[in-house]
């Protein structure tokens, strides 16, 4: 749950910041906008998000594997095992 909230925060920030620098970045008379800058910025913004989420997901995956492996001392029979419904 906490991770999801954190995600929302990150997203909001990432939406606001670029829209601001567009607002200012464009208007420079006599200069053409630099497609390199635009496209690579977009790319890196997306990479930030992608890697954040990647960290969350793979973190969850690792934790799951570590926590619920049967060799984990805390491992217990699942309720389905006890009820024998699988």
């Amino acid at each position: 749950m906490r991770s999801i909230v954190g995600l929302f925060v990150i997203i909001v920030i990432l939406i606001i910041i670029p829209s601001i620098d567009y607002a200012f970045g464009q208007e420079e008379p006599g200069k053409y906008l630099d497609r390199r800058a635009l496209i690579w910025n977009l790319f890196f913004r997306m990479m930030v998000v992608a890697f954040t989420i990647g960290a969350v997901v793979s973190g969850t995956l690792f934790w799951l594997c570590w926590r619920f492996r049967e060799s984990n001392p805390k491992a217990v029979q699942t309720k389905y095992e006890q009820a024998g419904e699988w």
Binding site: I39, A50, G54, V57, L64, F68, R69, T78, E81, W86
Partner: protein
């Protein structure tokens, strides 16, 4: 090599039988044979690119032929037949029917594969696995190119036939007191992927026909000098082959749906959302084909439409990932080889998907289009997700197929090496693409970054190669001499069923 259900028969009797497990076995062996052949080609390519400048491959013509056949083989002769093999073994069992709906059709569908494979491998054409005109019309040498075209036509028919077979088996032949809502998710995955095939493949069949007539010079569908349009082919092609990607990946996900609950000792977190996601995928897979073609002078509007269409496919895949994680949550997980492959598959599936989302953003196409980024991206899917799911399932069904147990230790080593290798090759290739290296090049200028990354990728490929040798030895040896498996519960997980030997149908 199959677990005979009756009594031992001579091999030729198995070969020409129409029983679903026998046909499944044929599919299985064929697909694995081609996995190794195609893999050998891939290693050749990676070795050639280890250093800049021509290495041991004589000339670019040979190189081009190699990567063409590598691509075609892996997609049409490994992944598809493997999925069909799994389907043949398990769909009838899962819907509790004695065989596939049309056993003879089933065998016919299989026996279409060897001739087409022969055509493809003998011809060894050079126009890349998507045969884009005008190159494929005016530049690709005959007879190789025409043989490739015929080979793929036959394969198309074969996969349509087997899809029909699966659909009928599931919809019509399932046990009367079993509702469609009780068909296991593997069944659902085959249902949806077969539906996609039925809609998608005919388009490609038409495209191939046009290509052939163009090559013969009797038509000019794709020849601009007589008013044709080369881009038309690309639309036809991708209208088939973007959905085809889902045809490949959906069964793999279905296989994970078998393995993960089994080894987590839990039922699937949400059967219904799995079904929903499958059906949704099957539908939205048709809304995104032209995102492969941003660079062919598409208008802003077109690009936007297809970007939205592409993004629309993501939630469904994300639901699967969620389902997997939620199923593992609170389970008691036995990390046997199949489970490892599935978990690794999920991880790579996620990274491939993330890459795909980034890729679908229109402007980024200027960076990634036809660069090694794309190579890395779709290999993460076809190897990292599909092949991982498939190999995991191969280990899972091994006891059922052979009645023996594979060597657990070597299975795990196979997985670990393959995973490391995959990360090394395909993640590096993403970066390589960002540095602007075009795909399908026989040689590259000696930019230090390119050299470094190509060498990392090549080493990764070697590691995968080693793991595959281990795999081969393990399979052959265990098939022959492996210790007899406990057919009720090969991994000693407890619970009611190991699929082929289930006492009752799972899920309520």
């Amino acid at each position: 090599m199959v677990l005979e259900l009756a009594k031992p028969r001579p091999i030729w009797q198995i070969m020409f039988s129409t029983h679903h497990t026998d046909v499944g076995l044929l599919y299985l062996i064929t697909s694995l044979a081609f996995l190794f052949m195609g893999g050998a080609l891939a290693l050749a390519l990676r070795l050639e690119l280890f250093f800049p400048g021509p290495q041991f491959i004589a000339d670019s013509m040979t190189f081009n032929r190699i990567f063409t056949v590598h691509g075609t083989t892996m997609i049409f002769l490994f992944i598809l037949p493997f999925a069909t093999a799994v389907g043949n073994y398990f769909i009838p069992i899962m819907v509790r029917y004695k065989d596939m709906a049309y056993p003879k059709l089933n065998a016919i569908a299989y026996w279409m594969i060897p001739p087409s494979a022969a055509l493809m491998w003998l011809g060894f054409s050079d126009f890349t696995w998507y045969a884009t005109p005008p190159y494929s019309v005016i530049s690709a040498p005959a007879p190789a190119a025409d043989m490739w075209i015929f080979g793929l036509k036959i394969l198309g028919v074969s996969s349509i036939l087997s899809s029909i077979n699966f659909i009928v088996t599931i919809m019509k032949c399932k046990h009367p007191d079993m509702s469609l809502g009780q068909v296991p998710l593997l069944g659902w995955s085959f249902l949806s992927s077969s539906m996609i095939v039925l809609v998608a493949i005919p388009t490609f069949a038409a495209a191939l026909l046009m290509l052939l007539t163009d090559r013969l010079g009797v038509s000019g569908f794709f020849d601009p000098t007589v008013g044709g349009d080369p881009v038309a082919y690309q639309h036809l092609f991708w209208f088939t082959f973007h959905p085809e990607v889902y045809v490949l990946v959906i069964p793999a996900i279905g296989m994970m749906y078998e393995i993960i609950p089994r080894f987590s000792r839990k039922p699937i977190f949400s059967y219904s959302s799995g079904v929903f996601a499958f059906v949704l995928l099957a539908i939205v897979s048709f809304s995104s084909w032209a995102h492969h073609m941003y660079a062919t002078g598409m208008s802003f509007t077109e690009k936007t439409v297809f970007m939205v269409g592409t993004l629309a496919a993501v939630p469904a895949s994300a639901m699967h990932v969620f389902n997997f994680l939620a199923t593992m949550w609170g389970g008691r997980i036995r990390f046997a080889t199949p489970m490892m492959w599935s978990v690794g598959g999920i991880a790579l599936f996620f990274s491939a998907g993330a890459g795909g989302v980034v890729n679908s953003a229109m402007p980024l196409d200027f960076i990634t289009h036809d660069s090694y980024w794309v190579v890395g991206h779709f290999h993460l899917f076809v190897f990292g997700t599909i092949a991982f799911g498939s190999l995991g399932y191969l280990y899972y069904m091994f006891p059922y197929v052979t009645g023996r147990m594979y060597n657990e230790k070597w299975g795990v080593i196979h997985f670990i090496l393959a995973f490391i290798g995959a990360v090394m090759v395909f993640f590096t290739q993403h970066v390589l693409g960002l540095f602007g290296m075009p795909r399908r090049i026989f040689d590259y200028p000696p930019f230090p970054e390119w050299i470094a990354m190509n060498q990392i990728a090549s080493i990764g490929a070697m590691i995968i190669g080693v793991s595959m040798v281990i795999f081969l030895v393990n399979m052959v040896y265990s098939t022959a001499k492996g210790k007899p498996a406990n057919m009720d519960d090969p991994w000693g997980l407890g619970g009611k069923y190991y699929y082929p030997y289930q006492r009752k149908n799972p899920h309520h």
